[in-house]
């Protein structure tokens, strides 16, 4: 980031305030996450005692119950398959389409571009009924494949346009010289372009995984007892007979963990991807 010479002079005093403000903000952001984690270590009696919000004798009982009961491993595997496969397919197809759109002219280019831009904004609630009907008619309902297809389709438009911005930033000369060396367009794409898109791919991966791993309303409609994902399983803890807070928070924490870890590891790429396209840098 650029150093700003005028601000260097008055550095010491306001910096304390700045740290103070940053810390306060960080607490607001992280606070509810901490409450979720803390609650997951409470017994049922403790969850009803607000005085014990952060100081209590922790128990691992909730995690033990969640991990052992109710087909947890089946749901975890489903979630992993859906999250990983949907992300990989979205990335591969999204990168290819972004490259095609950025580097080639073809007859239906505009139609394709505007349609995908519109699809980017379709609310998931709109899709629930027709997707259920179509998947039912084609036998895709209750299969992991059906869920993956849906997540790929809803994530592609965003990924495509995110990566489109990244492709435009690449110097075209590299590809031209590869072509002169006798590389076909497909070979050029995989050998030259894809490696250069790595930062954009990281951001796109986080975005796609975020949806495919977290989504539960369509997943609820489109899966059955053997294909259910973890967020769906968590939503089933909310019953008419009340919420077993300790257990459901343990499951919610387990669901939140992978995206949190990915974010902590790749925050820079994530932020770069988030702001790309909107911000000239």
């Amino acid at each position: 980031m650029n150093a700003k010479p005028t601000q260097k002079a008055s550095k010491t005093a306001p910096q304390v305030y700045q740290y103070f403000a940053l810390t306060l903000l960080a607490l607001f952001c992280v606070g509810p996450i901490l409450v979720m984690l803390a609650t997951s270590f409470k017994t049922q009696a403790q969850t009803f005692n607000v005085g014990l919000s952060f100081f209590f004798a922790p128990t691992l009982e909730n995690y033990r119950d969640v991990l052992q009961g109710n087909n947890f491993s089946r749901y975890l595997i489903n979630s992993l398959i859906v999250g990983v496969v949907a992300t990989v397919i979205t990335l591969v197809l999204g990168t290819m389409a972004a490259y095609g759109l950025a580097r080639f002219t073809f007859p239906a280019r505009k139609t394709f571009a505007y349609t995908s831009l519109l699809l980017r904004t379709v609310p998931l609630a709109v899709l629930a009924v027709p997707v259920f009907m179509l998947w039912n008619a084609t036998g895709l309902v209750n299969s992991l494949g059906g869920l993956i297809l849906l997540y790929v389709a809803v994530n592609l438009p965003f990924t495509l346009w995110l990566l489109y911005g990244f492709v435009l930033q690449l110097p075209i000369e590299l590809e031209e010289s590869a072509a002169i060396d006798g590389c076909g367009p497909v070979e050029t794409f995989f050998r030259i372009v894809v490696p250069l898109l790595r930062p954009g791919l990281a951001a796109a991966a986080i975005f796609t995984f975020r949806i495919a791993w977290n989504e539960f309303i369509l997943a609820l409609v489109l899966t059955d007892r053997s294909t259910r994902t973890l967020p769906v399983a968590a939503s089933l803890f909310i019953t008419d007979m009340g919420v077993d807070w300790g257990k459901v928070m343990a499951l919610a924490s387990l669901i939140a963990l992978p995206p949190l870890i990915v974010t902590l590891l790749a925050a820079k790429q994530f932020i770069a991807g988030l702001t790309a396209g909107a911000v000239k840098s």
Partner: protein, 293 residues
Amino acid sequence: MRHARSTPWIFIAPAALLMAAGCLLPVLAAVRLGFFDWSMGTPWSEAKWVGISAFVDAIKDPAVWRSLWTTLKFAFVSVSIEMVLGIVLALVLERSVRGTTFFRTLFVLPMMIAPIAVGLTWRYLFDSQFGLVNAVLGAFSIAPKGWLADETLAFAAIIISDIWQWTPFVFIMVMAGLAGVDSSVVEAARIDGASTRQIITKVKLPMIAHVLAITLVMRLIDAFRVLEVIYILTFGGPGDSTEVLSLHIYKTAFIGQKLGAASAISVLLLIVVAGLSYMALRLSNPLRDPVAR
């Protein structure tokens, strides 16, 4: 680049096919379903063609308009607050200090948490009997409130949870925009005797207007799509005070069992969102205006 005629399609076709099958086709199917009376749990062969009557009913139904109004109110209030907070925070915290990266990482965490976890956590925090929110208010001797039991407070609750999750997004976008502002321009203004406030309102904000506009539209589109957190936090209640249009569609389909009617209302939502997308395209058309370099 010179290329064979089929080359672009090698790159485009797979994505185009999947988007068509998994997203475009369902959207078109939703429009078509709007012309049928079809109850969940009955075979498609029993669905009755009813023409545009479901659309007419949807437009006449005050519940649809109420939920559209709730959606608009939700989008307007939450996005305004998020924009103002995000911009102010970014301006205050613009200067980079040691550890900025660390703090920024913490700020993006709420965005990554699963909606189910967000909804559950806030539902727990807002609980009238054992929620932390009432406990904190109690420390200032404010009587406990039934947060999710009062129309205004429940609406406030869904706004607060949205602000928590999405203000960081605005903050990060604005930070990135400000980082791109040429410091020599700011310096020149300062030498000309501009006050800090003038620098902000006359120099910095106009220079990032483009970023602000795109951030605003992106947030608005997302606010119109919101469903999962509200589904968990209030399920639309009390009354129908937090029933946004997405939730109304869900309830019509899966509780009212009226798949056709739900589809007709979906079309209404699609029109609203399409209008927003049009606005977004006017502000920044990635096809015409390849800015991202």
